[in-house]
């Protein structure tokens, strides 16, 4: 795998570190009651988010899932506005109306996290249709989990993207467990890329713990989409270090399994080694990076904590434009 230049590589590493620190911090805060509602931790899945978003242009569109802190951070939103959203404060990305599960800002190409499994892929497909209709040179990425591989709307959207050659990239952020259900136990045929191929699209099963591999496959998919060759499907195998929701342990997998993934496949450890081996950084520089990330996340928490609550008188704002009732 060709390693990108120093600046890019260190950027990828730092972004993964930001996500990890953000998630570990948010998890603790959630257990202390600071986060409203559920909190879906993406620790372990950093390489998928960073690999995908680093291969996109800033104005490319994403739509994602209930577990989307990592995608949103990698899209370029700040730790501050995402932490503030977890705290449901007015300074959050969704103005405090969304919390962990509904991060989004359409004006910046983030078409939303989603509380409904598979819905983000449909919206991303629609965005890809919008891109095609307008003749823009952009792509749309629909993130989905392995749990979304068995809902009908996913494959309706995929089929539509294929027949219309839409610039859509479906990325399966495959952490292998739909809440507590192992993907292999509920997936007919077993091979997700083969399933997608059956719809007539380029499809790949890849290592979602390797940021450069993810980046490479998404870059190629993006090129194909921009060339008018239609959608691609990338099943990135990864692993979720924590429970589905904050505080959940469960009996559905062994501690040994979790420890093995962490000790042998961790995306940050792996890429840190690549960066050091390539001479882009030494251990001191890595430690310094980690410290600056720590400071960033601490600042985000302080910002969120100090941010005002939304004004409850705004509950009726932004439901509709009000323009339908105006005489034109």
């Amino acid at each position: 795998m060709t390693i990108p230049d120093k600046k890019t590589s260190l950027g990828l590493l730092r972004q993964m570190m930001v996500i990890r620190d953000f998630e570990e911090t948010a998890d603790k805060l959630s257990l202390r009651g600071k986060v409203s509602g559920g909190m879906h931790n993406s620790s372990g899945q950093e390489a998928v988010a960073v690999g995908v978003l680093s291969a996109l242009a800033p104005l490319d569109v994403i739509a994602t899932t209930h577990r989307s802190h990592h995608h949103t951070l990698a899209k370029g939103f700040t730790s501050r506005e995402i932490m503030a959203e977890l705290f449901t404060r007015s300074t959050g990305i969704s103005g405090g109306r969304g919390a962990s599960m509904h991060l989004g800002d359409v004006t910046k190409g983030h078409f939303g996290g989603n509380g409904i499994v598979g819905a983000g892929v449909g919206i991303a497909m629609g965005a890809a249709l919008g891109i095609q209709q307008k003749g823009d040179k952009k792509v749309s990425v629909g993130f989905i989990g392995d749990g979304g591989m068995n809902t009908g709307r996913t494959w309706e959207a995929v089929n539509m993207a294929v027949i219309w050659k839409l610039p859509l990239i479906v990325v399966v952020d495959n952490n292998q467990y739909a809440v507590e259900t192992f993907v292999g136990r509920v997936t007919g045929g077993g091979d997700l890329a083969k399933r997608a191929e059956g719809f007539g699209m380029k499809a790949f099963n890849i290592d979602g713990m390797d940021v450069l591999e993810v980046r490479k496959y998404v870059s190629e998919a993006r090129e194909r989409a921009l060339a008018g060759e239609g959608p691609s499907f990338i099943n990135a195998l990864t692993y979720r270090y924590y429970g589905h929701n904050v505080g959940e342990k469960g009996q559905y997998r062994t501690q040994e399994e979790i420890d093995t993934w962490k000790s042998t496949k961790d995306p940050i450890d792996h890429f840190t080694a690549v960066v050091i081996e390539n001479g882009y950084a030494d251990q001191a520089a890595i430690d310094e990076m980690r410290a600056s990330v720590r400071a960033e996340i601490e600042d985000a928490v302080a910002f969120a904590d100090a941010s005002p609550e939304p004004d409850i008188s705004t509950i009726y704002d932004d439901i509709d434009s009000g323009k339908l009732g105006v005489q034109l």
Binding site: G95, R97, F111, M125, K134, E156, L324, G325
Partner: protein, 332 residues
Amino acid sequence: MTTAPTTAPKVQNPNYSEAFQSGVREEMKRNPGIFILGTDLIERGGHFAQVKGIAQEFGHERVKDSPISEAAMVAAGVGAAMYGCHPIVDLNFIDFAFGAMDEILNQAAKIRFMFNGKVPLVIRATSGVALGGAHHCNSLESLFASTPGLSVAVPSTPMDVKGLIKTALRAEDPVIFLMHKKLSGIRGEIADENYFIPFGKAKSIRTGTDAVIISYGYSLVTAQKAAQTLEAEGVSVEIIDLRTLYPLDEQAINDAVKKFGRVVVLDEAPMFGSITAEIAATATERNFSSLKGPIVRVGGARAPISANPAMADAAIPTVASIIKAVKQVMSY
């Protein structure tokens, strides 16, 4: 309430579907971001000829035939709308919305509220009770109207079809646009390209002095027949066409309740949890002292619609049931 336009109609005596075509064509010429997506639209023109000829005029990029994938059809419209287009997703029959309920109620309706975006989207479908049996005769308007973020149009004339679809296509909100099956054959004048009907403005379609019927859609046809019979018997009935169910013209309803005090609310949806329940309850809360007696609702049975024509008719309001209701309010 608004009055009829003074501008001369361009197309003489078009039918309900042609009125829709006329409004859509005018707006498509003006806004290249408008496109139509649905099944059997290009050649067939839709099941009700509602877009017949538009593909031939505007090309297959702007009238797209889709697979029968309702969830993906609506999702395609939602995502494209968020991106800046103004799609019309044509479901043919509103019953097919069941395959896309998450996309309509949970996605389209809530994006503006949460994600700093707009969803300029029209979901057009033919609705209402007619022949065809239970799977094609659902009345879903109260479900959509009660969902924050959605607006619902229920035009009853070619004039209103055109005026309302043009407004919908200039706005930036998800609109459920319901055209009644049994109005497909009606003809009437339409206005020129500068005529827009704002949502939330009811219209009096028959003036009267004794009692008022508040309704929408095909029920207005039945109401007119009842009103004629009642007129011969010396009872003068006003009829108000709501035209949109959300936003609802609360002012027109208030005014009518205050003016007449004898109120019948009519539609063909199952009465349990219906729009008529909403109107009657709200009017009673707000204007109880103006009422001469209880508001009478006339509505559909809480029963699936049978394919047998007589059974289907028995499940919805009839001229006789409306006359009975008006006589009831006249008895106070």
